[in-house]
């Protein structure tokens, strides 16, 4: 079975619908999380200290989740109808994560410790029910009215005449699953480019050209963002920036915005971190409206490499729902190579087992409630590469040998042939540079990660399949 074609049949199961209800002198926000057969954890119970702001930011999460910035006509039937956000509760924060149906936008709302005054009862990651009536009710919230919040499977009071289970079956496309996981590694490759005040960001949104789907170059000049069709020193590339309009309402509450750009590939991914006194809303945008995040950059190379069992074991053992995974600590405590640790963390991110916090530049522990260990196997190029290697389609012409004419440690390039169908593709790997004669490589170069042929050659080299 071709792994790339496998979508996941998934059932959201809740004991009720999340709701915002009015009580005497206050409102109550009940966020219902996925129900488990043998436990119904209650993660949090308290009061939201800025109801209007938090309500608008939660609406932003809901809006991104249901957004379809691009739908090819042929995909209409396959597009995910509605997914629910994922919530991670830890000691200090609640994080809501969502991924758009079109796979091009990722959103995360971090409610910081000072956003909610209450009792944190449990830690973990699960789905949280978001529905249209709740979103509508959130839009009506005003400051001045206290808002109680409960988050958990038992957040809704069970009706006296019996439970009313809410079940919704969805098909989670493999592209969506991969993208949701891969966007974490994508963020790990981003760096801060510039910062704006809230007013500057609101002006930028107001002046954003309508319907711009292609690439643009952004720089901070004279108290505002300059948008250009050409690159210039200090500018970052950004694709499909019209999608930022989804932040219109949220922007009213923002003090500062930090903008991140990608340092790899074609460099068009961006992330926009909106800060308020008690929360951070991050929106990551894919390189183009019609592209996702999946398989970009060096992620596939990392996934293609054999796992380092020692490093992986150490990293996994350290996971305890912490908000920041300390790489230095792992390096010191376990005597590991830093690069190795970071590669294994990227692998865990691709499996949906950790998320990436841009603000702190660290991963955090959370486990996507889907069948996440299977996600990396869904990468079509990886699956294709494995098939080529397993089918003995790789033939080496030259192998990496030390070169007498180069610096010590430098090697002669590897040349190999990969048979696929009725043609052979020539792959040359020279240090960090690789090229192939396939159509994919001709079209994208290395800007979207390696093609399956380059991956196959790397896999074969690692496996020691060197026979010509």
């Amino acid at each position: 079975m071709a792994a790339a074609a496998v979508d996941l049949e998934y059932t959201y199961r809740y004991r009720g619908e999340s709701a915002l209800t009015a009580d005497v002198g206050r409102t109550r926000l009940s966020l219902v999380t996925t129900s488990q057969p043998d436990c119904d954890p209650l993660f949090l119970h308290g009061n939201i200290l800025s109801p209007k702001r938090t309500g608008d930011l939660l609406i932003a999460v809901a809006d991104v989740v249901q957004s379809r910035f691009h739908i090819p006509a042929a995909m209409l039937a396959k597009i995910l109808r509605q997914s629910d956000p994922v919530i991670t509760c830890s000691d200090e924060q609640c994080r809501f994560e969502g991924f758009s149906a079109c796979c091009g936008a990722y959103v995360r709302l971090d409610l910081l410790a000072n956003a909610i005054d209450g009792e944190r009862l449990d830690r973990g990651t699960t789905n949280v029910n978001f529905n249209a009536p709740m979103r509508t009710a959130l839009s009506r919230v005003r400051d001045g009215e206290p808002m109680e919040v409960k988050i958990g499977a038992g957040a809704i009071e069970v009706e006296s005449r019996g439970e009313s289970i809410v079940e919704r079956k969805v098909t989670l496309p493999s592209r969506w699953l991969r993208g949701f996981a891969d966007v974490q590694a994508s963020q790990a490759r981003m760096r801060p480019a510039f910062e704006l005040s809230g007013a500057e960001f609101r002006r930028f949104l107001r002046e954003l050209p309508q319907g711009v789907k292609g690439e643009a170059w952004l720089s901070y000049v004279g108290g505002g963002v300059r948008i250009s069709t050409r690159s210039s020193p200090g500018a970052i590339g950004a694709g499909g920036i019209s999608r930022l309009r989804v932040l219109d309402t949220a922007s009213r509450h923002v003090d500062r915005v930090r903008v991140y750009g990608s340092m790899e590939g074609d460099g068009l991914e961006t992330a926009w971190e909106l800060s308020t006194p008690d929360s951070r809303l991050t929106l990551a945008l894919s390189p183009e409206v019609w592209r996702g995040f999946s398989g970009e950059g060096q992620l596939l190379d990392s996934l293609a490499e054999t796992e380092d069992p020692k490093a992986m074991a150490a990293v996994k053992a350290s996971l305890r729902w912490q908000e920041h995974i300390d790489v230095d600590e792992l390096v010191v405590n376990y005597g590991l190579d830093r690069d190795r640790v970071e590669r294994e963390l990227a692998r865990l991110a691709a499996s949906g087992l950790v998320g990436y916090d841009l603000h702190h530049g660290t991963y955090f522990h959370r486990e996507l409630p889907f069948r996440s260990e299977a996600i990396p196997k869904l990468q079509p190029r990886l699956a294709g590469a494995r098939k080529l290697v397993d089918g003995d389609s790789v033939t080496f012409e030259t192998l990496p040998q030390p070169s007498p004419w180069k610096e010590e440690g430098d090697k002669e390039p590897v040349k190999a042939w990969v048979r696929s169908g009725d043609v052979e593709y020539r792959v040359i790997i020279d240090g960090d540079n690789a090229r192939c004669t396939c159509v994919w490589f001709a079209k994208h170069g290395g800007s979207r990660g390696p093609c399956k042929h380059i991956l196959a050659v790397n896999m074969a080299l690692e496996r020691g399949d060197n026979a010509d």
Partner: protein, 882 residues
């Protein structure tokens, strides 16, 4: 042996299919399925390319048969959504367990195919208890669309169960691109609004429920077009003050909507309540705060008016009102900011400090930059050529990369290393695939992708496409096609040669010394090559001069000519004379080849006339032996269609010298020989962006003729009547610091600023910014460009104003130059139409504030003549008071 079912399908007899299926067991049906699926696939394939009502009869009959025999998975994969009358009978007789799923799938397919024919069958299944209501929005949207086709009221009354539940779902559903209540209402014969109101008046539908349902829908923040019906419907119910009062909280909540028309709707409702004295400021003041973040002026000003009224009646609201209004101080419109500040100041606000800083940065002018161009490294090996070729086929550019590959294949075509077939296998396969359906036309110049795929086949297999029946493309793409063909013919025979026209530097430029060396090196082969060229030319009626040579001349860099001229001293024949003339010699003898001497003349000085060449070869248009002139103009036409007059402005130009043929018509243009690319540029029209970009480097030294074509393309599509995505390519060279902005380039810049399409306007604005920065645009020249726009009645001045203002915010210098330019434009040629004048004066006012300037005296006189109370007069007064 075909079965009875197959025969029925082939005969297109749906009724027989239904009868044959009726008594079958599920096992029998499944046994029939494979053959019927195969038959359906064959029918679909056979009828490709045919049209007409009978065309799909067999397919729909086959689809019916498949739906009566196959599994649902098979049905979904092969049935292309035709709804046959018999589908209800077929499925009801079958009673598959997946009937509900089939219904939901069919309804979703309805959306994609924009057809609601399946709805009656699904509805019947629901009514007869065969399936529950499908859990898809299209069930209700399809119902709404079916109803609109005749009488909505009668439709609903004929199926009264719909009134209890289904009708109310329409207030819950957003709709989609194909179906929404807004769209259904707009295009329906019968209107839902009127019908629902009639039913309400008849006591069939509950009024309160309709009022509440429409507000519920608006709460969901559907996109603007789709939510519009609900607000219009609510207002069509004419709610009384008492009814509004009961719903006061809902209206106030809707002021927080992210959909501007919904906010306006809510504000109107609140204003109505306020006018009736039914509400107080205290009830409302907090709820209106989101309106002060709105981008729409009307929303902010309306809310400000409400707030002012409340404060007037209840002074204790002042501090809160000031806080609430504060966000509007960031509004993009100056008059809104001024109004809000005035309100806040009147109610106790004291700004911390007066700031006159305009947020602009100081920027020095870029000194005139020498033509520093990046050299291009040629392709050295067959391996590198294979990679570069594949890349060009996929990415179709940039032009420098395309030229590298032409050069590489021309020089290396005879080399066949030992693993050549193995190495080029993927390229060969890909090239064949690309031109699978376009092989005969691949080398004509229609498409970069096809051209390089065709060239690859010529190189790898020695094969050239057959003669094509399709005419050559319009404009200078024809010249490019001729170049590629010239190379392909030689490459197919593995005759390696250097190309004269290969750029040595980015942007299509050739260093003169390199050009001379190439001419010298190729002279030995040129006799034979010229013989072949001459033979082909005679056969085809094309120019007798190699297009490679013509192209090379047009790409000569202005620098380094003296050295090259010295080196060219020994070049023989007419070519030698032409080369020396191009490089600046005054002693060359003008020969008989017109095309050659036109190219040499333009290479010598792109902007000046050439009397020596003109004496022998009469100039036949701009860009021949004279620089020529191009004057842009509009031709205004009116047409009467169904009693309505439509105006159109056609972009045209007058040429001096005039052309012999009407280049705007294909037959006129076809009479221009391919050897005159500078003339062909004038008729360059719609083409793919990659080919458009390639044509921009045919004559990098002077693009006036090319820009003229761009003016015609943009000018005829200012309001984006057609999706001409290639047009932005005309604007891109305006960003280069070597592009002069007088003449056609300046006209094109203006048209770009006036264009509706976002990216065209964006690039034009960037070009304006770049040109002010590098000194190409001063206030005089920019004033001419803007003044020209002001003088054209059909230009949307607010669109231009917005972009010009954004450009002014780039730096202090930009603001100053643009302010002065707009002032000059207003003095020279103010817009005649009042609305346009108002927008222009508004722009000038903003610029005056930005630069802390006052209008110059000539403009002051003009401003004093503007009377009245309209926007122009208001802005004139404001400017006079500065």
């Amino acid at each position: 042996m075909p079965t009875e079912l197959e025969n029925a399908v082939n005969a297109g007899d749906a009724a027989l299919v239904v009868r044959l299926l009726a008594p079958m067991t599920e096992a029998d049906r499944r046994a029939e399925a494979p053959a019927l699926i195969a038959l359906l696939r064959k029918i679909k394939k056979d009828q490709r390319g045919t049209w007409g009502p009978q065309t799909y009869v067999r397919e729909s009959t086959a689809s019916l048969a498949v739906q009566g025999t196959a599994s649902l998975t098979e049905i979904k994969s092969v049935v292309r959504f035709y709804v046959e009358e018999g589908v209800f009978d077929v499925l009801v007789a079958r009673r598959p367990p997946w009937l509900l799923e089939w219904a939901e799938w069919s309804l979703r397919e309805s959306e994609q195919y924009r057809s609601v024919q399946v709805w009656p069958f699904v509805r019947r299944m629901v009514k007869e208890g065969l399936i529950p209501r499908p859990n898809v929005d299209m069930y209700y949207l399809a119902m709404a669309d079916r109803a609109k086709q005749n009488s909505v009221k009668e439709f609903l009354l004929s199926d009264p169960d719909l009134l209890d539940y289904d009708v109310w779902q329409l207030f819950r559903i957003e709709g989609n691109q194909q179906f929404s209540m807004s769209g259904i209402e707009k295009y329906g014969r019968s209107k839902w609004t009127a019908s629902l109101i009639e039913l309400m008046n008849d006591g069939v539908l509950d009024r309160n429920r309709l009022l509440d349902a429409s507000l519920d829908a608006l709460s969901r923040d559907f996109p603007e077009f789709r939510s519009g019906w609900f607000s219009r419907f609510h207002e069509a119910l004419s709610p009384t003050i008492d009814e509004r009062l009961v719903r006061q909280t809902r209206y106030l909540e809707l002021i927080g909507s992210k959909i501007p028309p919904t906010v306006s709707f809510a504000l109107n409702a609140v204003a109505a309540l306020d006018k009736a004295g039914a509400i107080t400021g205290r009830d409302c003041v907090d709820a209106v705060s989101p309106a002060f973040f709105a981008a729409e002026k009307k929303i902010v000003t309306q809310t400000l008016k409400l707030l002012a009224g409340w404060v007037k009646r209840d002074q204790e609201l002042k501090p809160r009102a000031v806080d609430i209004a504060a966000p509007a101080l960031e509004h993009g419109a100056r008059d809104v900011r001024e109004a809000v500040l005035a309100f806040m100041t009147a109610n106790g606000y004291s700004p911390a400090s007066e700031t006159t800083a305009n947020g602009l940065v100081d920027e020095p002018i870029d000194q005139e930059q020498p033509l520093e161009l990046t050299p291009i490294a040629p392709i050295e090996t067959v391996e590198d050529l294979v990679d570069a070729f594949a890349q060009c086929i996929e990415t179709e550019g940039p032009p420098d990369d395309l030229e590298r590959v032409l050069d590489g294949v021309s020089r290396l075509c005879a080399e066949r290393p030992s693993d050549f077939d193995r190495l080029t296998g993927p390229l060969r396969k890909r090239a064949r695939k690309v031109v699978e359906n376009t092989w005969p036309t691949s080398l004509q110049g229609y498409s970069v992708k096809d051209a390089f795929a065709g060239l690859a086949i010529a190189w790898l297999e020695g094969e050239l496409p057959p003669v094509s029946n399709r005419p050559d493309p319009r404009g200078v793409a024809r010249f490019i096609g001729a170049r590629v063909r010239e190379i392909a013919v030689r490459v197919a025979r593995r005759e390696a040669a250097i190309l004269l026209a290969t750029p040595t530097h980015e942007g299509g430029w050739i260093a003169p010394i390199a050009f001379v060396e190439r001419v010298r090196e190729s002279n030995a082969a040129s006799t034979k090559a010229n013989f072949l060229q001459s033979l082909l030319s005679k056969l085809s009626g094309q120019s007798q001069v190699s297009v490679d040579l013509l192209q090379a001349l047009l790409r000569l860099q202005p620098d380094g000519r003296e050295e090259a001229l010295t080196s060219a001293a020994g070049l023989a024949g007419e070519i030698g004379d032409a080369v020396r003339h191009a490089l600046g010699s005054d002693t060359a003898t003008v020969g008989p080849s017109t095309a050659l001497w036109f190219a040499a003349s333009r290479a010598r000085d792109p902007w000046a006339d050439d009397p020596l060449v003109s004496a022998r070869h009469r100039p036949s248009g701009p860009g021949t032996s004279v620089a020529g002139k191009i004057e842009f103009r509009w031709r205004h036409t009116e047409s009467l269609i169904q009693s309505k007059t439509y105006e159109h402005h056609w972009a045209e130009f007058d040429l001096e010298p005039a052309l012999q043929f009407d280049i705007s018509k294909a037959e006129g243009e076809a009479r221009i020989d391919v050897g005159y690319p500078t003339l062909l540029m004038l008729s360059t029209g719609s083409m793919e962006p990659s080919m458009m970009r390639w044509t921009s480097v045919v004559w990098p030294a002077n693009r006036e003729n090319w820009f003229a074509a761009g003016c015609r393309m943009l000018g005829n599509n200012l309001d984006w009547w057609g999706a001409e995505w290639g047009n932005i390519c005309y604007l891109e060279p305006l960003l280069e610091h070597t592009t002069h902005l007088d003449g056609m380039a300046g006209v094109l810049l203006g048209l770009g600023l006036a264009a509706k399409e976002t990216k065209e306007g964006w690039i034009a604005r960037e070009a304006l910014v770049a040109a002010v920065r590098d000194g190409r645009l001063d206030a005089d020249l920019l004033g001419l460009i803007i003044g020209r726009l002001f003088s054209w009645d059909h230009i949307k001045i607010p669109r231009v104003a917005e972009r010009v203002l954004q450009a002014a915010r780039e730096s202090t210098r930009h603001a100053q130059v643009i302010h002065e330019a707009v002032g000059k434009a207003l003095s020279m040629s103010p817009p005649a139409e009042s609305g346009a004048l108002g927008a222009a004066l508004d722009l000038f006012y903003e610029l005056s504030i930005l630069t802390n300037s006052r209008p110059a005296p000539p403009l002051l006189d003009f401003l004093r003549t503007i009377k009245g109370s309209n926007r122009s007069a208001t802005m004139a007064k404001k400017l006079l008071s500065l």
